[in-house]
Subunit: 215 residues, 2 copies
């Protein structure tokens, strides 16, 4: 399988974490978002949104949208599951994933920030306030749900890393880039610390990708 992505894209990072936690190796093909490579006709034939990531299966089938890719990987390769067993537990994990995947990340990606700057003439401070607001609203809810789950252990749910970490860890990375003071969410930071201590996640980190650039 081939994963088309960009080193610093949150949804690419999210997908790489899922692969890493499941121990699945793929070929990584960089798509340079800074040059508009994601809008090339060749790439858009596989992903008509012109966004990353895209997973291309060995038979040529293209799957876009990181959430669909993670669910596919978990259904196709059941070992080391990203979702827990039990329908209520799965619903809970999907809910906390979607706090990030629907209500934080889509508001802060590159095409949105460009619109704020170019169409709404927002200075960087307006952009940071925007990004910081949605991160804070979402992380406040995520933190509350972590606090309400007494049995979760070191990770977001059920004592082991899974889909929730795939969503959460890249969003914390993104929050720091927007200069959000993440110290107000200690439970989230605890999950981050436990996840980043796992040796298998090193391969997923932005700075360890072939297309990474010095910051």
């Amino acid at each position: 399988m081939k994963l088309y992505g960009y080193w610093r894209s949150g949804t690419s990072y999210r997908t790489r974490l899922g692969l890493a936690l499941k121990g699945i190796e793929v070929e990584h093909i960089p798509v340079d978002l800074t040059t508009g490579a994601q809008k090339s006709p060749e790439y858009m034939a596989d992903n008509p949104q012109g966004l990353v990531p895209t997973l291309v299966l060995d038979d040529g089938t293209a799957i876009a949208q990181s959430g669909a890719i993670l669910e596919y990987l978990d259904e196709k390769f059941p070992a080391r599951p990203l979702l827990p067993a039990g329908v209520k537990a799965r619903a809970h994990v999907r809910q906390i994933c979607q706090i990030v995947g629907c209500d934080i990340h889509p508001l802060n990606n590159l095409r949105i920030l460009k619109h704020l700057k170019n169409e709404f003439d927002q200075p960087q401070s307006g952009v940071d306030d925007w990004a910081g607001r949605w991160i804070a609203e979402g992380f406040d809810a995520f933190e509350a749900l972590l606090g309400a789950d007494q049995g979760r252990g070191a990770f977001s749910f059920g004592g082991r890393p899974g889909m929730a970490e795939c969503y959460l860890i890249p969003q914390i990375y993104s929050a720091r880039r927007f200069n959000v003071d993440v110290a107000r969410w200690p439970l989230i930071l605890g999950v981050e610390e436990a996840t980043l201590a796992l040796p298998e996640v090193a391969a997923a980190l932005p700075e360890n990708q072939a297309d990474a650039k010095p910051s």
Copy 2:
């Protein structure tokens, strides 16, 4: 089960469509977004994001995020499935759902539009341009994927209505509210026509909810 929602909320409508297509009856409890009822301490105890919808199970378990609710309903009540069989088919349907669920709808909901007006001083035309842009980018991709699937029949996938319709139909309804000219997506409109012709969806329509107001 109880579904807390708002008649005109796209994610509430999405969830009601899933219930209607599966033939599941629940108690509908209106949450009036125009009065801020979604931010009451009582409601936020079940949904710390203060957003709709929330499904409360008979044992009191609260599930928020419409995507998590739809997946829960499909796993808990397998009859009349919203997702097809087969991992690749499921990935495809989840992908097209997430075009709407991640890359259109979250950009256009009430809290976002208020930010554009109040913080960025955007006139209604700027708000309409914003909403219309993300709808168009997403619908262009959705339409392309419909066009590439020769075997789909009258609906988005596999000849029968399912999760894709739950996402798509409320988004078309929303697009019209933003004065988007939806005629440029004939395949999408064909899916809408086929879906709205199903007698079971009447119960899910915004105008048929107890809290609906005259437009």
